[in-house]
């Protein structure tokens, strides 16, 4: 099955004006002298003077905090992640009985399911620690068919999870939470890499992980959630936020 593709996959740099506009926006909120220094070299000598690698890094650096997600509290971010983890865990749990899989795929799916279930427990505990209320378990629906279709959607979920955690990283206030979010992000990235390898797909789409805004994450996974939690509804484009 195919998901609607919201926009070009990460890795494609935005146009130079968009990039500069992003930096402008940033300069008002954060002092990031090192990256700004690289950018200044580009501004002075033209973006072509900056190595293509660095301009790609810059393009991504400017993307990580779209306006609608700045200002979210750590608890809100963790709750958003919790919904994703619920979705993933349930996907693998059902797939283990609904999909006929090769041995090595089944082994991986069991491993991934255990990890996602542990992430749910972790996030639930962390949200409570910060005085928040963990979001409810969403009702989900998946189209199950062949192993190959299952792996394709699994890749979408894992890629989405990896990019969502990466986007959230710099927004987190607590360094302890950042540390833990990084631990989870790495495990999501490992799932994505393993699934892609077993599918015979590229393990990476370029040398830098992309990031997804909350809205982009919701667009990718909302078709599988019957009753979206409030954090997801708020991130939908039609909500006007």
């Amino acid at each position: 099955m195919r998901l609607p593709r919201a926009r070009p996959l990460p890795g494609e740099p935005p146009s130079a004006p968009a990039r500069l506009a992003g930096i402008e926006m940033h300069a008002t909120t954060r002092a990031d002298f090192i990256m700004r220094g690289v950018l200044a070299a580009g501004a002075a000598y033209g973006l072509g003077a900056v190595s293509p690698f660095v301009s790609r890094a810059l393009a991504q650096g400017t993307q990580y905090a779209p306006p609608e997600q700045a200002g979210k509290s750590d608890v809100e971010i963790l709750n958003f992640a919790l919904t994703l983890e619920y979705l993933e865990a349930e996907y693998y749990k059902r797939a283990l009985s609904a999909v006929s899989m090769r041995g090595e795929v089944r082994e991986l799916v069991k491993e991934i399911y255990d990890n996602e279930a542990a992430h749910i427990d972790f996030l639930t505990g962390a949200i409570k620690t910060f005085g928040g209320k963990p979001g409810r378990v969403p009702t989900v629906t998946f189209p199950f068919g062949s192993e190959s279709a299952f792996l394709e959607l699994a890749q979408t979920f894992e890629d989405t999870g990896t990019m969502a955690y990466n986007a959230a990283g710099p927004l987190l206030e607590s360094k302890a939470v950042l540390n833990n979010a990084g631990q989870i992000a790495q495990v999501e990235g490992r799932h994505a890499g393993a699934i892609r390898w077993l599918r015979g797909h590229n393990v990476t789409d370029g040398a830098l992980e992309g990031v997804l805004s909350f809205q982009e994450v919701v667009e990718r996974v909302d078709p599988f959630i019957v009753d979206s939690p409030r954090s997801f509804q708020e991130a939908k484009p039609e909500s006007g936020l």
Binding site: H26, R30, D32, I34, M35, G37, V38, A41, V50, S51, V54, A57, Q60, G61, A65, L108, E111, I112, N115, A117, A118, H119, D121, F122, T124, G125, A126, K128, T129, T162, N166, G169, P170, A176, L178, N179, N180, G182, Q183, I184, A185, Q186, V187, E188, G189, R190, H191, G193, A194, W197, L198, G200, N202, V203, T204, G206, A207, L208, E209, V211
Partner: protein, 199 residues
């Protein structure tokens, strides 16, 4: 195990398994001195050293004829990714006032397909832990975003290699293990043969 994960949530700064204390400065100490520089300068220089090492590693590995087909293609892509990380970090490091870590000397000895693949699995599982260990020390949001963007690429590569040798994708379980600088460098012993120099 899960019960202990949640039970550990009682205190915000002492969270969960596999963590190093965020910002712990011993993280940045090698042989009793701050070799790589203070703060973000140190993080970038440490990451740059690691990428020099990895780029050299894959250059040497891809000169052997142990691999073919899908694995060969994969290893070439990994080398390209590592070179790109190297370029980014070299540019960043040059912009810093605190000096740049110099290209280290490396030595690799690949004797068979099996041995080479085993070393590659070990080396590639070092990168993600090394980046993860640095993330909470980073002050600049942009440098953090860059480090995170490299971190999960290293993680993807490590997991694919783990699949090739029948390991778990995430051998440390649901919460990946961060490595300190010391631990990371220890994993390069015998291959990274010069001590880090910043100038």
């Amino acid at each position: 195990m899960l019960a202990s994960v949640t039970a550990a949530c009682g205190q915000q700064d002492k969270v969960f398994p596999n963590t190093v204390a965020p910002g712990a400065e011993e993280n940045n100490q090698v042989g009793g001195g701050t070799v790589f520089g203070e703060g973000d300068v140190g993080v970038v220089n440490f990451a740059l050293l690691l990428e020099y090492f990895e780029a050299d590693f894959y250059d040497a590995l891809n000169k052997t004829d142990f691999f073919s087909g899908k694995i060969k293609d994969f290893l070439r892509t990994v080398e390209e990714n590592e070179r790109e990380h190297l370029e980014i970090l070299r540019e960043l490091s040059k912009q810093q006032a605190g000096g740049t870590v110099q290209k280290p000397e490396t030595k690799f000895n690949f004797t068979s397909r099996k041995q080479a693949l085993a070393i590659t699995v070990f080396v590639e599982n070092t990168g993600p832990g090394a980046y993860l260990g640095q993330a909470p020390r980073i002050q600049s949001a942009d440098v953090l975003a860059g480090a995170l963007a490299i971190h999960t690429i290293e993680a993807r590569q490590a997991a694919a290699l783990n699949m090739m040798v029948g390991r778990k994708a995430s051998p440390d379980g649901p919460m990946a293990r961060p490595f300190t600088i010391e631990e990371s460098l220890k994993r390069t012993e015998g291959m990274l043969i010069s001590t880090p120099v910043v100038k």
